[in-house]
Symmetry: C2
Subunit: 178 residues, 2 copies
């Protein structure tokens, strides 16, 4: 069992990252870990209040998140970072920063088709993007680069959140994390 590590959830908006992050947090807390969930809106408010959603802004924001994740994890706090984080290069940067500091980095692809994410759309963001109100929406105007080799894939389209969490915990045990 590791003292701390970084769980990096990546996936399209509405793919189910936040749900998984919060469930996973409960499980890890109950096993005695310290845990911080770093999640989109709340973290943006503090780290990048001025940023928009251009590629440059997103990259800058995710670099901040990667740094904060590293600071926490090297002090034995498990980080669950839950961000669309659409670009491979930045996810790789986050991984390098962690691993260069001796921290394990687990990339989890929260997989769900664009069609299904658009059907869910709990915040109405896809709708706004389709109507042109939002200009930089991942999946619509902006690219989402699927992970090529993530440690874990959870299929939130075909499985219930409960099944996904069970699978996630199983995989994490196989990796010797918990």
């Amino acid at each position: 069992m590791e003292k701390a590590f970084i769980i990096w959830l990546t996936g399209l908006p509405s793919s189910g990252k936040t749900t998984l992050a919060n469930r996973l947090k409960e499980i890890l807390l109950s096993r005695g870990f310290k845990v911080e969930v770093l999640d989109g809106d709340e973290v943006r408010k503090w780290l990048s209040p001025e940023a928009g959603f251009s590629r440059e802004d997103r990259e800058r924001h995710l670099r901040r998140v990667a740094y904060v994740s590293m600071l926490l994890a090297r002090n034995e706090v498990v980080v669950i970072a839950s961000f669309v984080s659409p670009y491979r290069n930045i996810r790789e940067e986050a991984r390098r920063l962690a691993e260069n500091n001796g921290i394990r980095f687990i990339e989890i692809y929260v997989k769900c088709s664009l069609q299904e994410c658009m059907r869910r759309d709990p915040k109405g963001l896809y709708q706004k993007a389709v109507e042109g109100e939002i200009k930089d929406m991942t999946g619509i105007q902006d690219v989402y680069e699927e992970p090529l080799n993530p440690e874990i894939i959870v299929d939130t389209e075909r499985k219930t959140p409960e099944e996904c969490i069970k699978e996630l915990v199983n995989e994490m045990q196989k990796f010797g994390l918990i």
Copy 2:
């Protein structure tokens, strides 16, 4: 003894903040605390690579630092934040964020006259400011707002670093921090 808290060192450039931060870190580590020093240049590189030294940029940067400090401290990591942090309003914001999260915030004024800081000037920054190469230097073109009511004042002009550290540790004991 508290599990964690935030030590916020504020003072003019070249007043001796970094020296104190590093010595204090050693002492706290030897007493079993987890400690992170957040210090000017290194933290800027990650959190605010695009920022300059305008009031707006500095405030934004210090807000990020305040947030990161809070995340660490609420996970039982002592934070030593060492920044010029020239504006009262932002230091107060950092304090509120900490205290609203149940974290003690200790403002330490690293006191040294502008004249003496300009004499030391190890990085040659004051010289550059006087020559007009730097435009936003605290103490020259930009204001430094002295703390009105800091928890601790250390006088690095009249005392050696060793004396300052001894005093600092004494005061921290009186505050029940260590």
